[in-house]
Subunit: 319 residues, 2 copies
Amino acid sequence: MLLAAITTVFLAAEKQWMMLDWKPKRPDMLIDPFGIGKIVQDGLVFRQNFSIRSYEIGADQTASIETVMNHLQETALNHVGSAGLLVDGFGSTPEMCKKNLIWVVTRMQVVVDRYPTWGNVVQVDTWVSASGKNCMRRDWLVRDSKTGEVLTRASSIWVMMNKVTRRLSKMPEEVRGEIEPYFMNSEPVIAEDSRKLVKLNGSSAEFVRKGLTPRWSDLDVNQHVNNVKYIGWILESAPLPILETHELSSMTLEYRRECGRDSVLQSLTAVSENGTDEIECQHLLRLEDGSEVMRGRTQWRPKNAKISGNVGQIPADTA
Amino acid sequence: MLLAAITTVFLAAEKQWMMLDWKPKRPDMLIDPFGIGKIVQDGLVFRQNFSIRSYEIGADQTASIETVMNHLQETALNHVGSAGLLVDGFGSTPEMCKKNLIWVVTRMQVVVDRYPTWGNVVQVDTWVSASGKNCMRRDWLVRDSKTGEVLTRASSIWVMMNKVTRRLSKMPEEVRGEIEPYFMNSEPVIAEDSRKLVKLNGSSAEFVRKGLTPRWSDLDVNQHVNNVKYIGWILESAPLPILETHELSSMTLEYRRECGRDSVLQSLTAVSENGTDEIECQHLLRLEDGSEVMRGRTQWRPKNAKISGNVGQIPADTA
């Protein structure tokens, strides 16, 4: 079911397993060629600092959620690039190449304790782990580089897709053999949000924006809409009073379908308040014919609220 | 006429003259507090390097024009921040504050000889100069930091606006006295495009996109649409075959009106070909009531075309 339903393509996915060719015995190979990141912890964690730029902050003067997600994408790709192997933009492992397989992201969970502001420097760590029989997990931990304060935790699940049939695939044994040595043995950096994501429809969603189309600059090198852009569309149907008074504290996204230049989307949102200051929203992005593109759930806290982050969930070995 | 028509607000404009308080006699004050740029050439030029990130490249695998413009904005703001005076987001000179004046951008000219790709490092220089009785000019020169090759040149014109009445203002003598010492004495980095920008209308424009609205993430800290976002809207009405086969080589923009969260825009484009491979487009952004937001002209060259840039126009003292 899951395997049949998900056809999202994400550029990073198709590249990230080039890191399989890491040469942990040759430290000179581990230096990021762009001078903007490095491998730490026995070659299994990639670390990069980002200075927040003026155009990465929004109306609140803090980094936008898209900026946070961009930094996650950048480190995932540089994690691969740091091995000096970013030659083929669609790089899979040798066994994956033989079988026409690429990686696609299916699920993303993000918890933001605090958004950095212009001029802040954040330190992003990323690593990958096993996840069930057919999946891979990629985690991120974002800290204030000055204080070490945890700002963001994110966890994502990836599966394999046949790039010709666009159908999901089990992970072949040969591929597992290739990639297993590179997995960190660690718990997810966020406890899994196991609540089912609701499927909204026209009557259950109070807020609907129709006719959303990609801009030319939303497309990535695959001529697909980059997965980070989906978040902007989700927010398109979130009511303005929430955006003005609250900030996104966490989200769970399920990617189900890719979008291209000509896609026309509808963004649906339902809001539920639980009597506290926190607000929860359910989201659906769908094509005009009703096909689901993404389901999501977001939590919002009042701006300037004090954070009671659950830092106990962070594996000590990633600090 | 010009003074009455132009009411565009640009965040950078309101901040950039804080650099008036530079203390060139105290070199410790000249270091950029974010560690991402520095003052060179006797305190009159600000220089910053940017590593192009994966999310700053588009379908062509090169930096998008928005990325180029973002880097220009960032250096203009850091030019100010480098003086350590970025306290008031609306910083004007003391005399401007007294008179409720802010800076607004009215004209922007950009020539792109080559777009950098992911991992390239670009070096951006920016400085300001006098421009007529009531204006200020800000120029930028972007180079490949490795080879010194000139990638982009840009020149912009700024005037003063009363932030209460939203009307343009002459430059008071007291303000001129404050800012004049900080002007570079140099020719514009691009020869002025003196051809009048055509005012398109429904019948002269072959391509029209209606109903364009700002996304939440398009707003800057002033709750206005950031001027860089206007370029995305211009491209919305440019025909896809041009975007697919050509790249933007130069543009001239005239900003005439600010946009807010609720603005609904129309983007108009007219294409003229002159028998060569180069294409020229005329553009208009307008509100639904017809009010002009921006006029523009863009030139496009075939992708992968050889560049014959006119580097002779670059003042030697900025190299």
